[in-house]
Symmetry: C2
Subunit: 202 residues, 2 copies
DNA sequence: CCTTTGATTAACCAAATGGTTAAATCGGAT
DNA sequence: ATCCGATTTAACCATTTGGTTAATCAAAGG
């Protein structure tokens, strides 16, 4: 199945695939071993326990989904530009790993504790706070409507991520195949910015 | 724990609590029995198997979250009114069962098949299709901007539901306690309508 | 060629888990 | 009081599952 790479990485790849698909509780160590094409004992030889292995996979996934939000462009571009770029980049980024958001939300929901330390060790949120100050200031200056920066942030993330979280339902309700779904996502890169900016018009 | 009601309902309540919290894979029949204050064999006596029990709990949850979307107000009110009411009613409704959305999405994601027959036997989506025609017509008449009705629908649902799906993360990032979170949700009833209607302004 | 050392495997183990069963208990009808 | 069906329980069972162990393999170094 997997080719002749070093075993550690083979295992992580297999674990990622199985954990993301089935969740911590649903994943079987045997399935991970099969996916990696190795003996089950190797998993413990390299990573001690199921929990340790999951921890690594989850940390990586969390980082991929949450960290980009902490990287809101600094610089001095006008706030509308920043929002446009954030939305475009974020949707593009999530499109590369479309199954991670629901995986994250689901696991965090069942075990909120696994996220707490990770948030503390996530220094990149300084720039989010910075972005929020900008929002407030731009509101006072009349450049945009005065809105709660948290609600603005939430709205952006909701519009970007939700389609991936609800993907099977959406495709079921609207009878979309994967190509149609991807086209719809592509359309959203511009549309979500339209929605947000129309709302922010002073 | 649970009082002297009839056993069937006691079991369903307990099963609901455990399944929604831990998911199908994470839930233990023994935990459900303990929660209901009865012997584990009773679960099988009344509901045969874990899967059968889960099926009932899931169907009910699915109905609570998805069906209201099919009940988009008919009548002849202007489309803006309908949108406002849908948003207000839907956020209010989900607030009563805030843990159901992530439960639904998570389980549907792991087992898409459990949703398919349920969608077919969900006739109430006729009114959604009707609503979509209205959107198109209102667009052509210049009453609102011309937008994809699917994207409109998605945006509304995303803005209403996402906060509940991402709740632990949101509270972690923004250091919100439950009261602040609830206040934020309350604020959104009006705000989400503002966002959507600003976007739809012709 | 032999030894050493890390990598790999088959076999095994104990605990957990969904499910079953046979006996006991309860409650109403006769 | 007794019978009878429905309900409830304790004990049990087979399978699954995460994890361990002792033996084997293979490559490097001497």
């Amino acid at each position: 199945m997997a080719q002749e790479k070093n075993t550690e990485e083979q295992i992580i790849e297999a674990a990622r695939k199985i954990f993301v698909k089935r969740g911590l509780d649903g994943a079987r160590m045997q399935d991970i071993a099969d996916e990696a094409g190795i003996n089950k004992a190797m998993l413990h030889y390299y990573y001690r326990s199921k929990d340790k292995l999951f921890e690594i996979v989850f940390a990586e996934a969390f980082s991929k989904v949450v960290t980009p939000l902490g990287h809101i462009l600094e610089g001095s571009k006008p706030i509308e530009e920043k929002i446009k770029e954030l939305i475009d980049h974020y949707i593009t980024g999530i499109s590369q790993v479309p199954y991670l958001p629901i995986f994250i939300f689901s696991e965090v929901n069942q075990r909120p504790e696994i996220m707490i330390k990770r948030l503390n060790s996530q220094p990149s949120f300084g720039s989010v706070m910075n972005f929020m100050k900008e929002v407030i200031e731009a509101g006072k200056n009349g450049k945009i409507k005065e809105v709660s920066p948290i609600q603005l942030f939430l709205n952006i993330v909701a519009l970007c991520i939700f389609p991936f979280v609800a993907r099977p339902l959406i495709q079921g309700i609207f009878q979309q195949d994967n190509i149609q779904f991807d086209m719809m996502i592509e359309e959203r890169k511009k549309m979500v910015a339209d929605v947000i900016l129309a709302w922010l018009k002073p």
